[in-house]
């Protein structure tokens, strides 16, 4: 077990190193000069050269890469070119909306999808099963920006039930900030509930056909107990996998939803950073997302142990 953990951690370092390197090369291959962008349309070539020097962009790519790696190892992700603040500080200030958005949309998706998935599997082939699958397909097919726009227009603008965008403004309390996340969370949750629903249903279908379920029924156990106690526990592994991956994807992929609702999260940050060619912020966000992805994967594997005693590492 310890060996397994060590191996996984080592693998994680390699993955992050690769992500770092690829990110570094890719963002620099993209044309577009951050200095020219920051100075605006009327900047003279001399001003651009001076700003490039001040930002350290005139050094060779290799030396920039080595400096970046050296600093990253020490936890220093550099300074944002645009905000002139440490990248770690910028990222920290954007973590809250993204993490809570991912969390709420996951909770929303689980609340909607798990019971329906179980029920659909239990009533396999029935009208309820069919309609839940079609609804899930539909929900998964509508892009979240469209769902977001529809919610924004009708629930926020027309009915005034929710704020249309933003994150509460200056001095907003924690409660207010969370209130601003309701519509975005539902928007993102709907898209992801489809995936969870289908996984839950498929997984439950497998288990419900197993011998021990039949045995449990034969012993006279109540249906609810059979489904929730025996079957669900064993259907748990694939569900945990998909939930874990969904969470990581949500953090990384909240981009569109954050854009539509103008949430100051990491997704919005990375889009702006790309448009501004803010190299250190792009790299920093990728490192955080890659790390999170690897960690969530590890946590998912470890959760298997807790759910299924037969799993051994």
């Amino acid at each position: 077990m310890t060996r397994y953990l060590l191996n996984r951690l080592l693998g994680m370092v390699v993955v992050i190193f690769l992500v770092l390197t690829i990110a570094f090369v890719l963002v620099r291959l993209a044309p577009g000069d951050p200095a020219a962008l920051m100075l605006g349309p009327d900047a003279t070539p001399e001003e651009v050269v001076a700003l490039r020097a001040r930002l350290g962009l005139d050094a060779s790519i290799l030396s920039q890469y080595l400096t970046f790696l050296g600093n990253a190892v020490q936890g220093d992700l550099g300074r944002s070119l645009f905000f002139d603040r440490p990248v770690t500080e910028v990222l920290a200030s954007r973590a809250e909306p993204t993490i809570f958005l991912a969390l709420f949309s996951l909770i929303f998706a689980l609340i909607i999808a798990t019971p329906i998935g179980i029920f659909a599997a239990y009533r396999h082939g029935s009208a309820i099963d069919q309609s839940s699958i079609s609804t899930a397909m539909l929900a998964a097919s509508v892009p979240s920006f469209l769902t977001g726009l529809i919610f924004q227009r009708y629930l926020a603008t027309d009915l005034g039930w929710f704020p249309a965008s933003g994150y509460g403004g200056p001095g907003a309390s924690f409660g207010t900030r969370m209130w601003y996340l309701v519509l975005p969370s539902i928007t993102l949750g709907i898209t992801n509930s489809a995936l969870i629903l289908r996984f839950t249903r498929a997984s439950m279908l497998d288990i419900l056909g197993e011998d021990y379920v039949r045995t449990a029924r034969a012993k006279g156990m109540s249906e609810a107990r059979v489904v929730l106690r025996h079957a669900l526990k064993n259907a748990g592994i694939p569900i945990i996998t998909v939930v874990g991956l969904t969470f990581a994807l949500l953090v990384a992929g909240a981009v569109v939803t954050e854009r539509v609702f103008n949430l100051p999260g990491m997704g919005n940050l990375v889009v702006n950073a790309v448009l501004r060619r803010d190299y250190p912020v792009i790299q920093g966000t990728l490192i955080v997302v890659a790390t999170l992805y690897v960690l969530v994967n590890l946590a998912t594997d470890l959760l298997y142990l807790a759910v299924d005693k037969r799993v051994k590492y």
Partner: protein
């Protein structure tokens, strides 16, 4: 509304709305200002925000005439046009509590000449800026330069006045004298300004009444999100909206459209340094081939939002002249074909560099491409993101035309493309001579005449290709008053309806 729904929405509204201070104006702007130091940026979004807390010696009134702001009066200009003596207002406080004097102004203007693009452009002409008294500064020039006051008044690459103590090549925390001061800034979330209680009103120019307690600028990059925020009542003002949203805003009970008519001009910038367009016949062929009406219609969709107008300044502006415009909107691909023949055009691709960041640029380019191909051009479209365009246009080897736009600037000498030093590199000796006369002439009427010559020259030599005028759509809370339509709207007089 049913009773249940009413109860529900009331309950939700109670939870939802943060307690707003009375008189807060929320303004949705198109992005985050990358600096609060308006000297070093020419971006409109920087001007819009910083003009509330940073001031200049002069400013523009509603008819774009220069009026004093931190100066006590208009300058005394020596007969030879070389010395400007500017009296300063006394008792003006900076936000740090210090009082403005001539030393602050001298230090600020010296920095402006060193770091601001508009200041640098005239730095060679300025022999010196000196304090000629505790409340008076003198600017000495090596040759007369009429646009000086407009440059000192512009909020864009602004000759901002800072306390001498903070003046440095790079300023950490900007301190100004404006009616509002910077209270808080959360990047990509908001910039919060509050009333500056010790503000002293300028005399003569329009008062800055400090009506709102707070002004909050919220960067909202997505245009649809700005519209929804405006219509839902979240924002009191939203800048730069897609014209498609006009009808919805017009029909709303919460908001009303503000049409900035006209806002500016889309331009096909011409590469005079390298490539195809260095040949006058080819330039004339492009000018003759373009279907300006169709391009504007494709770009803006409804003639409520554009005018097919070749004059560089629209009617109503003192700079308006029709000189040379007979060459505008010829829309004759056959004639263009003749020019191409005369030029001995061999089918080398005409490269148009554009971006979809501004969708109307791209739509104009598409129509232009068809017309140019009909005239016999081979056209190569290079559609990139704005960051790439901003870089590539500095390399004259990469493009023949790039598409941009500009608001109508209060003084033609602010139109950088007219100068040979600009990236377009339009360096025609005859034009340069007119330009020199234009910038050194001090008599306003004579300047208008010379500007006519300049515009005529621009058409004959195809220096720049102006496509037309376009209007900008902004939106505000229905019944809000005190915000004059402008590319750089200001909110110190904004008053919300009861």
């Amino acid at each position: 509304m049913s009773a249940t729904r009413l109860r529900l929405s009331t309950a939700l509204a109670l939870v939802a709305s943060p307690v707003l201070a009375a008189g807060t104006i929320d303004v949705a702007i198109i992005g985050e200002p990358d600096t609060f130091d308006p000297m070093i940026s020419t971006k409109d979004v920087v001007s819009i925000v910083t003009q509330h807390f940073v001031e200049t010696l002069y400013t523009f009134d509603e008819s774009w005439a220069v009026v004093p702001l931190l100066a006590a009066d208009m300058p005394q200009i020596a007969e030879d046009g070389l010395t400007y003596t500017i009296p300063l207002r006394e008792g003006v406080s900076f936000h740090d509590g210090s009082t403005m004097d001539a030393d602050d102004v001298v230090a600020s203007l010296d920095r402006w000449l060193e770091v601001a693009s508009r200041g640098m452009a005239i730095a060679d002409l300025v022999e010196g800026v000196e304090a000629s008294g505790p409340s008076e500064v003198t600017i000495t020039l090596s040759e007369p330069y009429a646009p000086l006051l407009s440059l000192l008044a512009f909020s864009n690459s602004a000759a901002a006045i800072y306390p001498e103590e903070i003046v440095a090549p790079s300023i950490e925390q900007v301190i100004g004298t404006g009616p509002y001061k910077l209270e808080a800034h959360e990047p990509d979330q908001y910039t919060q300004l509050v009333r500056f209680e010790e503000y002293t009103q300028p005399e003569g120019s329009a008062p800055r009444e400090q009506i709102p307690d707070e002004i909050r600028f919220v960067p909202v990059p997505d245009t649809n999100t700005r519209v929804e925020g405006l219509l839902s009542g979240q924002f009191d003002f939203a800048d730069s909206l897609a014209t498609e949203a006009y009808d919805r805003i017009d029909g709303s009970e919460t908001a009303e459209p503000v049409l900035l008519e006209p806002f500016g001009w889309p331009v096909f910038a011409v590469n005079h340094k390298e490539g195809l367009m260095t040949d006058l016949k080819i330039r004339q062929a492009v000018q003759a081939a373009l279907p300006y009406d169709d391009m504007l219609f494709a770009a803006f969709g409804n003639d409520m939002f554009f005018q097919t107008d070749g004059a560089y300044y629209p009617e109503g502006w003192q700079w308006h002249t029709e000189a040379g415009t007979e060459l505008y909107n010829i829309n004759d691909q056959q004639l263009a074909g003749q020019y191409l023949e005369e030029a001995g055009y061999d089918g080398q691709p005409l490269r148009i560099l554009t971006s979809r960041q501004y969708e109307f640029h791209y739509r104009m380019a598409e129509v232009a491409q068809m017309a140019l191909e009909m005239a016999g051009f081979t056209v190569e479209m290079d559609v990139v993101d704005w960051a790439t365009l901003a870089q590539n246009r500095d390399n004259p080897a990469l493009w023949d035309i790039y598409i941009t736009h500009s608001p109508f600037l209060p003084e033609p000498a602010l139109i950088s493309s007219l100068f040979p030093s600009a990236r377009e590199g339009w360096d025609n000796p005859e034009k340069n001579e007119i330009l020199d006369r234009f910038t050194s002439e001090t008599d306003p009427e004579a300047r208008v005449e010379i500007f006519g010559e300049l515009q005529e020259m621009a058409y004959e030599d195809v220096g720049i290709i102006k496509i037309g005028n376009f209007n900008a759509l902004q939106g505000q809370r229905r019944g809000m008053t005190g915000v004059a339509p402008s590319p750089w709207p200001a909110f110190w007089n904004a008053e919300l309806p009861e």
